[in-house]
């Protein structure tokens, strides 16, 4: 039946020479280029497009834009599908496939429709009052609730599309490309300002694309074409169609979501699917127009009841006449145009105007084309389930309290309604601006701007075309001037008359009985919120507008109340017997219309989600087949497996190599800072805990930094490379934080100190050569200095040439073995690594990774910040008192004197040996002294590090234990996941070479 039988023979902006085939709920249809999915469905007479959320009543298309509550579809196939798309905003393309998101087995026949019969049981908030017993059943009830909830489906499979961000700056951003927006953009552009004009439709013009009015005595659409052409000619004007300004954030930062290729057939799509424009605008002109309000009468949700303005749009822009026997029901003048449009399209029309007076000008025009007008009448109810069939009309004297009895019934297949207009104040509200109630026009209009913005056009409560053009011009001019440009020369074109205004409040159409007893009068279609629901909320004491919204779900649909909110607030005001402004509006929040996560994330997904930092030697590690450990943003080689080795085998081998011959590791990720200046010693004395001043030039020292709270923050070796010059190293994870911390103290607290800090983290790569044979390896390479233990003793630093390359050579050891750390400029690092490997081959030099490094340092009892510490550990807890100078103050020192830091039973660093000599304790496992104790079982510590020590032949562990240093040889119990307790003996934290002789070799 793809016959487009509701398509008019002529007219509209569609191209009848370009038929387009599409499928809806499995059936084939045809539309034309220029159609939206909604206009094409209406052309084909599709009435029921979905079901309501709760009561599952059949629903049809109501609007023609962002306000549409019912036509919510899944569009597209497979992984390219898009959930919850609005048919009124989806442009038709060849091969489009759409499915309703509500209604099972089909929107036409929905088993859920039973809910409508039970609607009295399902009033607002009913779920708060039941499903409570038996307690255990809630999850069962909930499963059914969840199954019946929701609209679209998350597409399966990876997203084939990409998304991107663009940052843009402009003098004037114009949100909305209707008459006011176009005028504003024109004025700003001619003034020479950088302008961005964004509109959510496929072409600019807004309501002018369906307007009956003329501009400069020509069809309004011609003026649009000419204006857009001129704008496109300005170098500094950026035109963004299909682009929704969805968020107005602080300091005039706005978000625009551009739909780049959703309107194209899958085959024709290229480039990003959506683009996020992150705009910083000097001035913003808000010209998003206004939303027409539905009228709230019995069964006003029946398919065939539509917004009058939407009907006009379908007739004039899309050449579709949604009905042949129409009733137009209004409380203002604008719908008279709709009546005339319908009449001219060949429909029979009856105009029902709730106002006793009605409209003069518009009425004459309507009568002229033979439209009967019933003034002082209302449509109180309609018949029809899947489509409206009869409108029941009653006389009404304007008293909202009264009930009425219908005296006239008219057969019809379309009821076009207009309850007046509400400016789209969303962005103004998002920007922090308040909204003011306009007593004359009966709507909220933007109040004082909170940021640099100006509202214009119908979004500012101006209805007639002439006013909108004028208002837009003024706004554009003022915006440009405030941005520093002389207003360009623009005059307002002559606009024909518009039927508009004259709204007389009709928030709730009186019916034969009060709302609780008459058929449902819907306020929010998508969430099935009715007048009775709002009255129930008030009756139960949910008086505040926020309570009412949350209790009845009013405005919580995907249309976010664009249709229902104002009617709902007015009805609430009536119930509370207060003026509407006293009830107040709710704050509008982003997004104006929904924004995909994809476009929000842009390119920052997958490998680009977060930078992977790599050392200059990274490729060598990859070539060696080393699995990587994620350490902050870095990828570091974890271990270097040979053939079929697993982690443990490889680590055992690597450890033995370092202890018995020589190993090499890439320590380049350590933070490195050059600190120098006349006051550098004084500065470092305040930062580090040891006596920095006592270090001789050429000496290295292990240093720690504390936070002011006394907790260990970072550690590393520092070298005094000159009288006034130090070379500081930090942990991998702490590098950036430590530099920032030092700079903050220098700049904010001690700006008098003459010290410069320069990061060398990336400049120097660090190659640690460790093991008894390490000296021989360096000698093999050829070193410019004497590497002998007396000439170059432990914990000293030298500048040298190694294999002809300048290096900083450190005689430090994190393994406890004789070791050298080669700091070489990173552009030479890879070559140096290869040189070391070659020179070490005769000693079987073995590259090792982070895991082996951890084992070796644990055997020596060296801590890892972030593993042995967690922000609650002091140096005293770690047994580092020897590092705490008595001769000076340093950051965090005072905190160590606080009562809690002086406790004897604080957790202290100890070694642990499993009594059975076999079990490798799980890292992180808790320790207890009495596993039999009742819950809560007192815990006395936890395992921080634990490994099988290949060199010692048994497992070792480090732990933090309450009063641990005083519990040497005590037996504790390590609790495993399965509840079993492993006996462990408290030992000293140094397991290997306690005297430290090997590193001095």
């Amino acid at each position: 039946m793809a016959d487009q039988r509701f398509r008019l023979p002529e007219g509209g902006r569609i191209d009848r020479s370009k038929p387009i085939r599409f499928r809806f709920n499995g059936r084939a249809f045809e539309g034309y280029a220029g159609d939206t999915l909604a206009s094409a469905l209406l052309a084909n007479g599709v009435g029921v497009v979905g079901r309501s959320f709760k009561l599952r009543r059949p629903r049809g298309i109501v609007g023609a834009g962002a306000e549409e509550p019912n036509a919510i579809f899944d569009i597209g196939r497979g992984s390219a599908a898009r959930p919850n798309q609005r048919a009124t905003q989806a442009e038709l393309y060849e091969g489009l496939v759409a499915r309703s998101t509500k209604g099972w087995p089909s929107p036409g026949f929905d088993v859920g429709a039973i809910n409508d019969r039970l609607s009295r049981l399902l009033g607002a908030g009913f779920y708060y009052k039941t499903f409570m017993r038996p307690k255990s059943f809630w999850r069962l009830y909930e499963r059914f609730i969840r199954a019946s909830a929701g609209f679209g489906r998350v597409p399966a499979g990876p997203d084939p599309d990409r998304y991107e961000h663009v940052n843009a700056h402009c003098d004037v951003l114009v949100a909305g490309g209707g008459p006011a927006g176009l005028m504003a953009a024109l004025a700003a552009a001619r003034a020479g300002a950088r302008v961005v004009l964004a509109d959510d439709q496929s072409e600019f013009g807004g309501r002018l694309l369906a307007a009956a009015e003329t501009i400069d005595h020509r069809p309004a659409a011609d003026w649009v074409t000419a204006t857009v052409e001129e704008l496109a000619g300005h170098a500094d004007v950026r035109l963004l169609p299909r682009s929704t300004v969805f968020g107005y954030f602080d300091h005039n930062f706005l978000g625009i979501a551009e739909r780049c290729n959703d309107h194209l057939p899958a085959s024709a799509r290229s480039g990003p699917r959506e683009r996020l424009w992150r705009i910083r605008a000097r001035e913003v002109v808000l010209a998003q127009g206004a939303f027409e309000r539905p009228l709230v009468f019995c069964n006003n949700d029946r398919p065939g009841v539509m917004l009058a303005s939407a009907v006009s749009t379908y007739v004039r822009r899309y050449g579709v006449c949604p009905g042949s026997r129409a009733v137009v029901f209004t409380n203002n003048d604008s719908a008279y145009q709709t009546a005339i449009d319908l009449r001219k399209a060949g429909a029979t029309v009856v105009l029902v105007d709730s106002r006793a007076g009605g409209a003069r000008l518009a009425a004459d025009a309507a009568s002229e084309v033979g439209i009967p007008i019933l003034q002082g009448h209302v449509v109180s109810d309609v018949d029809g389930t899947d489509h409206v069939t009869v409108a029941h009309i009653a006389q009404w004297d304007g008293d909202p309290g009264k009930t009425v009895t219908s005296t006239i019934s008219i057969d019809c297949d379309l009821v076009a309604v207009s309850g007046g207009w509400s400016p789209a104040v969303h962005l103004h509200s998002q920007s922090g601006g308040r909204n003011a109630w306009d007593e004359r026009e009966h709507c909220f209009v933007p109040g004082e701007p909170a940021q640099a913005s100006i509202a214009a056009g119908s979004g500012n409560g101006k209805w007639s075309l002439a006013e909108c053009l004028e208002d837009g011009l003024t706004a554009g001019r003022e915006a440009a001037q405030r941005a520093g440009f002389d207003a360009g020369h623009v005059t307002v074109p002559a606009a024909g008359d518009t039927f508009c205004g004259g709204t007389e409040p009709l928030w709730r159409v009186p019916a034969a009985q009060e709302p609780e007893r008459c058929p449902k009068q819907f306020v929010d279609f998508q969430n099935d919120t009715s007048v009775a629901d709002i009255r129930l909320a008030v009756r139960e004491g949910y008086l505040n507008v926020e309570h009412v919204k949350r209790y009845t779900a009013l405005g919580f649909g995907t249309d976010q109340g664009k249709l229902g909110n104002i009617n709902g607030m007015a009805i609430l005001a009536e119930c509370r017997d207060e003026p509407i402004p006293a009830v107040g509006t709710t704050t509008f929040r982003p997004a104006y219309t929904p924004v995909s996560f994809g476009v929000g994330a842009g390119a920052n997904v997958g490998e680009l989600f977060d930078p992977v930092r790599k050392t200059a030697i990274h490729e060598a590690h990859e070539a060696a087949g080393a699995p990587m450990e994620v350490v902050g943003q870095w990828h570091r080689p974890w271990y270097f497996p040979r053939s079929a080795e697993d982690l443990h085998a490889a680590v055992a081998r690597e450890c033995r190599a370092v202890r018995n011959s020589v190993g090499v590791m890439d320590a380049s990720t350590l933070g490195k800072i050059d600190a120098r200046g006349p006051d550098v010693v004084e500065f470092l004395e305040r930062i580090y805990t040891h006596d920095v001043g006592k270090m001789a030039v050429g000496r290295c020292a292990y240093g720690i930094l504390l936070g002011e709270d006394g907790m260990l923050m970072d550690d590393g070796v520092m070298a005094r490379v000159g009288e006034q010059r130090f070379y500081l190293t930090t942990t991998t994870g702490g590098a950036a934080a430590v530099l920032a911390w030092l700079e903050k103290w220098l700049q904010t607290e001690w700006p008098g100190l003459e010290v410069y800090l320069t990061s060398l983290t990336d400049h120097y790569s660090t190659i640690a050569v460790a093991g008894p044979d390490s000296r021989k390896v360096l000698e093999n390479i050829g070193c410019s200095i004497d590497l002998g233990r007396d000439a170059f003793p432990f914990m000293t630093v030298r500048e040298a040439e190694l294999g002809g390359v300048a290096v900083q050579l450190f005689r430090v050891s994190f393994s406890g073995e004789l070791a050298f750390e080669i700091n070489v400029a990173s552009q030479h690092a890879r070559a140096m690594w290869d040189t070391v490997m070659k020179a070490g081959s005769e000693f079987g030099i073995t590259p090792y990774g982070t895991e082996t490094m951890h084992v070796l340092r644990a055997e020596k009892g060296f801590v890892i910040v972030g593993q042995e510490t967690d922000g609650s550990v002091t140096p005293v807890d770690l047994g580092m008192n020897w590092l705490l100078s008595k001769n000076k103050d340093f950051l965090g020192k005072r905190s160590l004197a606080r009562a809690d830091c002086r406790r004897e039973d604080r957790k202290q660093l100890v070694g642990l040996l499993s009594v059975d000599g076999q079990t490798v304790l799980p890292e992180g496992a808790q320790l207890v002294s009495d596993p039999g104790a009742g819950i809560p079982v007192p815990m006395c510590g936890h395992v921080t590090s634990s490994y099988m020590s290949a060199c010692l032949g048994h497992p070792i562990a480090l732990a933090l234990v309450e009063g641990g240093r005083g519990r040497r040889d005590e037996t504790l119990h390590c609790m495993l996941r399965d509840g079993t307790a492993v006996p462990v003996r408290v030992a000293a934290p140094v397991f290997y070479d306690p005297k430290g002789e090997r590193q001095n070799a």
């Binding site: 991107e164 930078p611 320069t758 060398l760």
Partner: protein, 176 residues
């Protein structure tokens, strides 16, 4: 977009980081003399002559020279500035330079940086440190063409290049 552009990693770039007191005329004078070009005192500008000297902060500059020159520049500066409170560091190993050319580069940079690269806002001789996607970068405009130099920390270079390729693909940017 019709404009096209190109991106190329510079393989022979040298870098020297200089800290010193811009308020101290003596320092500025000596530095200018030994470099044979002034240190830019105007924030976010480049002094382009024998070398490119980037303003990094009120007391910090980055001297971009040829790889082979870095050691010499360091020695010359330390010698010329002896006795003053300064810090001179060869950071050639720490930075990677990427040449960007073509009008499309402005669009490319706008995809990752919140700076305004409009010709009116960012001109030849201008530079800025900013964020490009999730990495900190130094970007300077060298000529009207336009050509830009992008300086990134070595450990972030791989990420930045991946990002440039990804974001440049739609803009017709060619990678050497």
């Amino acid at each position: 977009m019709p404009e096209r552009g190109s991106a190329r990693v510079v393989t022979d770039a040298g870098f020297v980081n200089l800290r010193g007191n811009a308020e101290d005329a003596e320092f500025m004078h000596r530095a200018a003399r030994v470099l044979d070009q002034p240190l830019p005192a105007e924030p976010n500008t480049i002094s382009i002559a024998g070398h490119r000297v980037y303003w990094l902060g009120p007391d910090e500059w980055l001297i971009r020279c040829a790889a082979g020159q870095a050691a010499g520049v360091v020695a010359a500066l330390e010698d010329a500035l002896a006795g003053l409170h300064v810090a001179v560091n060869d950071v050639s190993g720490g930075n990677v330079a990427i040449d960007l050319a073509g009008a499309a580069v402005r669009d490319l940079l706008a995809r990752g940086s919140t700076l305004d690269f409009h010709p009116r806002a960012f001109r030849p001789g201008d530079c800025a440190q900013t964020g490009l996607a999730k990495a900190g970068v130094l970007v300077g405009q060298l000529t009207d063409a336009p050509t830009f130099e992008l300086v990134v920390r070595r450990s972030f270079a791989d990420y930045v290049l991946r990002w440039l390729r990804h974001s440049g693909s739609g803009l017709g940017i060619e990678f050497a």
